[in-house]
Symmetry: C3
Subunit: 356 residues, 3 copies
């Protein structure tokens, strides 16, 4: 007879450099999950909305937007990698591969690339990992590294404090349907914006995306739908018993939610005529988000490059920045802009010359 209260997740001392963790669960992307997140994202790219349009381009079905692929795979890694984390420090080299359609099943695994205990705050350390997601065909759909600040569980435990000498090589590049002059792309060109082809972008321009979106306590159900069970997003009693321990003394919104919303809010200006997100070289959450905040975003156009091997496409290199506003006091018409998220992003965008 015993009372059992299981610990979930790993502490700093539990990580073994070089180990590969195959995560639990896996997840079939039902039409319900697809609908919830594609719509929450506010994406406007018809590839994720209109099956006829997606098929005209050579996809099998409507396409999961990159943010949804990221959320489903990332969330599967949470219990093993970041359930006992203090902070998610950085996304690195997040690359997209095979398209994901409703009905596909995604599974995830993670290699531990390095562990570094902090000399200044020895109760913490940084875990550097490489994760990937595969669909049922075995194809990689996403691969990314991230750095997480993780708590020690037992201050006297031995930490595997080192860096993997050779990172595993994961092939992951977006599958983009071939340009086919016999397809009548122009017949559906009115379904996307007219001014978001590759020719429309100029390095140095900044787009202030016009739409904002309030996030309510809906974030709790959204996070649960992703199987991200981290208690700081949904356990109000835990917060109430010890509010000073938790950032803001409130349930905090899972970072994947604003990550996605920023992608969506920028979509009508930036990615309405994209065929794929290629890579997010780096990304970070800069400030926390809570129920009641309204999310906005801006995009800086940094480079406009040729897309190797594809005359019909260009590669748009941008910085996506999310922000919210803090209202100093009620009735005060001023508001302070607070940065919440930044993402370096490269996108494969259609050329008007070929598609419209």
């Amino acid at each position: 007879m015993a009372v059992i209260r299981k610990k979930t997740g790993n502490f700093l001392e539990d990580f073994r450099v070089g180990e590969v963790l195959r995560h639990k669960g896996g997840k079939t992307v039902t039409e319900g999950l697809f609908n919830t997140f594609t719509e929450f994202n506010m994406t406007t790219n018809p590839l994720s909305k209109n099956r006829e349009y997606a098929r005209l381009y050579g996809y099998d079905d409507i396409v999961c937007p990159p943010g949804l692929v990221m959320l489903v795979v990332f969330s599967q890694t949470v219990e093993d990698i970041s359930e006992n984390a203090r902070a998610n420090l950085e996304y690195i080299n997040m690359r997209f591969g095979a398209p994901v359609y409703p009905g596909d099943t995604l599974e995830a695994e993670t290699t531990i690339l390095g562990v570094t205990r902090s000399s200044r705050t020895p109760e913490l350390g940084v875990v550097h990992v490489a994760s990937l997601g595969r669909k049922q065909t075995g194809e990689v759909v996403i691969a990314f590294e991230r750095k997480v600040q993780v708590w020690m569980g037992d201050m006297n435990a031995k930490v595997d404090d080192r860096v993997l000498e050779t990172k595993p090589v994961v092939e992951c590049a977006p599958w983009i349907p071939a340009y086919d002059p016999s397809r009548n792309y122009k017949a559906k060109a009115h379904l996307s914006n007219r001014d978001t082809y590759f020719e429309d972008f100029h390095p140095g321009d900044t787009y202030e995306h016009s739409r904002g979106r309030l996030i309510t306590d809906e974030h709790i159900a959204l996070t649960a739908q992703l199987d991200n069970t981290s208690q700081v997003h949904c356990n109000q009693h835990m917060i109430d018993m010890n509010p000073e321990k938790y950032i803001g003394g409130r349930l905090i919104i899972f970072g994947g939610i604003p990550f996605n919303l920023c992608l969506g809010v920028s979509c009508p200006d930036i990615a309405d005529n994209a065929l794929a997100d290629v890579i997010y070289t780096t990304g970070r959450h800069v400030a926390p988000l809570f129920s009641g905040d309204t999310v906005f975003a801006e995009t800086d156009i940094r480079e406009c490059r040729d897309y190797p091997g594809r005359e019909d496409l260009g590669l748009l290199v941008v910085t996506l920045r999310g922000h919210k506003f803090r209202h100093p006091k009620e009735g005060d018409p001023t508001a302070v802009k607070v940065d919440i998220f930044v993402l370096e992003r490269e996108i494969a965008v259609k050329r008007r010359s070929h598609y419209a």
Copy 2:
């Protein structure tokens, strides 16, 4: 190098009488979208709930309720027609056509029928449009006119102030499966109410529908799922910075939400044994709705007509009226009834003689 903040939507001076606008996006009705709205609507007609029942009647699958078809098509027209509107004045001759099933993809287009600048308030005018939605087969699923009060963008711009001489003719009548005496409808008759066949209705009767439904800030996610990105429904920061500019100083609920909820709340009394909504001759929102309001509805039976060419059906002509209550002060048991919505509605209802 430029800072770009795109204007979305058209102002009064942007509309050209006679022009046909093909709207962006299109939308595949996934099972996720179907579930969200069919259940929010509170419809009780088994055609929208029970695949076996719908197939017994000759439909291919469970059927999208008329309110969902309306929401999906209407919302696609918002950016081009009413993003810069002050008010949606009237729905006119909304007719339903081919049935819409989960998996169908709907696209929309709108013809500008007339533009009238106001002489009394020259910063405003009325745009009169005819919209229609088609599914991937090319069949029309809905056609309707509406009148919208739209802001001028540039007070000095020239307005195309005239009326189209000849309205385009759009064939749109509901597809209703033929009555087939060899089908055993009676075997499933217990799945719908026993007292809502055509023989049960009498002109002059008023039904006070017994159920009410609180609308919470769930309305934000519902509206986003429809791709209706009008900022007055979801941009809390915009409201907070200038509350006096906005009705009620709060996020306002998209009119399509109470439109649907009134249809649903009336369903068990009025449309549980309907095979189709035929036409909404006119409809208007009479008062705004906010998070925290509970929606109720009533229906007046105006006429009971034969349905041309169908002995198994009757045409029920009704007025659907939605309302909420205003509570003068907390603790005060009185409450003031406030009308919110009115819709003139004609429905094809089964006769008991043939189906039960």
Copy 3:
């Protein structure tokens, strides 16, 4: 000309012992409904998440968790059985049968087993019923009894106060795919927890499940999605006009919601490697739940038995207990534990010897 306000549901005097009520509606489990509840439940069993895993085990598709089957069938019985109830007293012998997959359509019927008017409070009585749900193949998916305390409608009406002599016999046992040594179960064993096989459980142990979940006013939409239209869950105006009449003076959360959430919160410790819930011999709601409560659960292991005819499985007999906390006053760090739900539960659990 008349004003009609229909009564819905039956009062104590309306029940006829021995009568069989076939309920209205029926319900196709769309992928939208499946997603909403499987994710709200927080189940972690991969059978309900990962189509490839479910097929490896011999299921046709991802499997609806037992709580979803219960919710869909139970809710269909509400209007006829408990719309005019004061309280749902007890669930009895709830047994599960054929697996339910997305796309299946469930219909429900109920036999009245007994009616007992209260001698002490003659405005109330207890109705004892046996309900069952079938899918479109005719197979029974769930069968259960329940006892409900129902109001009299007319105090002078005659009550059919008696007990059915012979209960109808309903065959209902879980369909569990045969163990097939040629299947490579081990290849997917990493997708479920390693320490929740039958060999891991010991009578007398108590599991304090580590996760809690706040329920917000999302419960209104969840309840509506189940077609449970009981007004105490969604009609805020009704409550506001007469708060003293209703428990807590607030919208109360439908008991099926915490029933499901307790199953889900216990899943990673108890049912992650279950192939079926066999029977809930008895269950009761002990205290009401409101928006803002955080739900927790515990499980007592009572017995570990062989599963008849199946060497690969064991039968786990447990008590599942749900609770919340009441915070005496703001800022007070103490909190009082309040029991909300108890369920006696028998589960068919895989043996490590065969599957991992």
